[in-house]
Symmetry: C2
Subunit: 384 residues, 2 copies
């Protein structure tokens, strides 16, 4: 159940020698048609990596034939040489796979500010092209990992005969306001590019853009959605969006669960908000509070830190009529202490925080994780 589950796709993942440790570091996903509709979403960070600059142009016309992804280097802030590297990688794919370079999306992930070794990229593309297979999705998923500890893949099959599959990488530098992390999603449903883009935008908004591991927005994030049309089935738009959202949500949850150093996943749900923006603004403020995230790391249901974060937002609420419930125990009612926080069970990995704003009818959720010693360890030693 991966990116090659939908008919019409082949993939591969190889060790191109970009990563010093010899792990797989180059992935290729190819659409064999008969259709080549595509959509993409990119980071909204104004400092964009060279592969993003390249791939924006590629995806603009709604056709993508292949996606090549490397770990081991972000190719960001590498100047004109870095852009040429991205372009040359696409040319190598074009030559090996028999497509046009202008239809090849390039994605990179890793350290910013280092040139990628073009010779190794080109060698890796040749090796990957030779290994392309309809069973290759899992190796591709493995080849895009950086600080991730597990490969992330998923697929859903619709009873009508079409399916959606996907792979993702991401465990740090994850914050919303973009299409987060590197993701390739495929489908064999027959859908035109414009409708694909509409569906992707909607799915991303409700999934990847509600994931916030550390409030740090990446320069490289790219989500590419490819449709081969190989099933011959044209699903209803709403049905497709629902299934696509499901796939993206599973991948987002896998990224949340693999967040750097996390000992708890934290779902922050805001209910009775005036509107969706309010719900997400409040949930995000709490999800970005280092004090709240360290408290959860220490198994401390510190609702004071929840309210301190809520108070920084512009959402509609009465500061003295908010309830906070953690893992089912309401410990703050109407802005005052309620049940004893000592009765909250925080031993499970999954933590659910429910904030009741009592100001409307909308519910929204942001996924985050706790801030642990291990997060500091990983990110203070990443470069060396």
């Amino acid at each position: 159940m991966t990116v090659t589950t939908p008919a019409g796709f082949e993939a591969a993942g190889v060790a191109a020698g970009i990563k010093a440790n010899g792990h797989r570091d180059l992935a290729l996903v190819v659409n064999r048609g008969p259709r080549f509709d595509a959509a993409a979403a990119f980071t909204t960070n104004r400092c964009q990596a060279n592969p993003v600059r390249w791939s924006r142009q590629v995806a603009a016309d709604g056709r993508v034939d292949a996606v090549v992804l490397n770990s081991g280097g972000a190719n960001c802030y590498t100047g004109e040489q870095g852009f040429q590297t991205a372009h040359a990688t696409a040319e190598a794919v074009a030559e090996q796979v028999g497509v046009s370079a202008g239809d090849v999306v390039v994605c990179s992930t890793g350290i910013i500010g280092h040139q990628l070794p073009l010779d190794k990229l080109v060698g890796g593309v040749s090796a990957a092209a030779a290994e392309l297979s309809a069973d290759g999705g899992s190796l591709a998923a493995e080849a895009i990992l950086t600080t991730d500890t597990v490969a992330k893949e998923v697929a859903v099959r619709h009873p009508d005969g079409w399916s959606i599959g996907g792979i993702a990488k991401g465990s740090g530098m994850i914050a919303p306001g973009m299409a987060t992390m590197l993701v390739v999603v495929t489908t064999d449903a027959v859908i035109e590019a414009a409708e694909l883009q509409q569906a992707l935008d909607e799915a991303v908004r409700h999934t990847f853009n509600r994931l916030d591991v550390d409030g740090c927005m990446s320069t490289n994030d790219t989500v590419t959605l490819l449709s081969s049309g190989a099933s011959g089935v044209s699903p209803a738009h709403a049905e497709f969006v629902a299934r696509l959202t499901e796939v993206c949500d599973v991948l987002a949850a896998k990224i949340q669960d693999d967040a750097e150093g996390a000992s708890h996943t934290i779902d922050i749900e805001v209910q009775h908000a005036a509107d969706e923006d309010d719900a997400i603004e409040v949930a995000r403020a709490v999800g970005r509070s280092n004090l709240f995230k360290t408290a959860i790391a220490g198994n401390d249901p510190n609702w004071g830190r929840v309210l301190a974060a809520v108070g920084t937002t512009q959402a509609a609420f009465d500061p003295f009529d908010i309830d906070v419930t953690i893992n089912g125990t309401r410990i703050c009612h109407a802005g005052q202490p309620d049940r004893d926080p000592a009765t909250v069970d925080l031993t499970s990995r999954a933590v659910h925080v429910l904030i009741d704003l009592k100001s409307g009818e909308t519910t929204g959720m942001v996924r985050t994780s706790d801030l642990t010693h291990e997060y500091v360890e990983i990110n203070s030693e990443y470069e060396s």
Copy 2:
């Protein structure tokens, strides 16, 4: 050199039994006149502690005769009972010191969501009133500490015969957008309340509001400025603002230096910004990047993480014409690698990051610190 350095002020710091460890936990600063002009600045967090709710009313008329401060509990989200506790504390001060309760600012700091023990507060106020002295500033500075490791005090004397002194507490839950942390500043200069407020707003904007330890905004922050007029000297406004800013800046630097778990202080300076807002927005975005802060904790001059944070802002800049210099070594020039990051010396505690936006003539700086294992340790164990 402390809050009692200016003539006309007395202070005390006692152990009232609010803190379980028996440390000093209640401070009193009293203005003995002849004038009683005052100004104050409070947190902009919408979830405000009861002492803030009380003290806003007190300071509104430009007269404050005394400030009572306790550590060991924030008296925030403690409902009507908590507001009555703040009021009753002011009444106790009024009775013991011979002033009106309506002229007594109350400040609290510590855990949110616990009722303060009123009997211990009242007992502490009696003890402190009995020990009030013109040498008591340092004991007051000690009594307001929480996770702080050192007392923070300062004073400057002007050749014309007036002075400004201050004390502060704060080491975590520190972010701008407010009058940060608990601070009492005194002066014996003759200045009317309205001018004091103007001077305080200006000084706070350039000092405490440019301090960002962890991006977490407190519910209790209060800066109170008291003028006794005891020197009989009326300084020029610009001169007073300059000296007041100097005092606030020293206190802000002391808080930065005592930031929870910090192994580096980090001054983030942005130059050639289009305007002050741009400079501060960019500096703040970098100062709040957990990835950048953990990199510095690991002695890693990771300029890619600097630019990734800069890219999240709306400031005027060309992403491909930015320079980044760390501790004097320019490691990114025009958005590309410059000198070898390995040559950057990060062994000193003080780190200076200089970001050149090349978009104007304005410079601005934000003070922050690194994100370490010890920050996680302190904040995951604070409640227990």
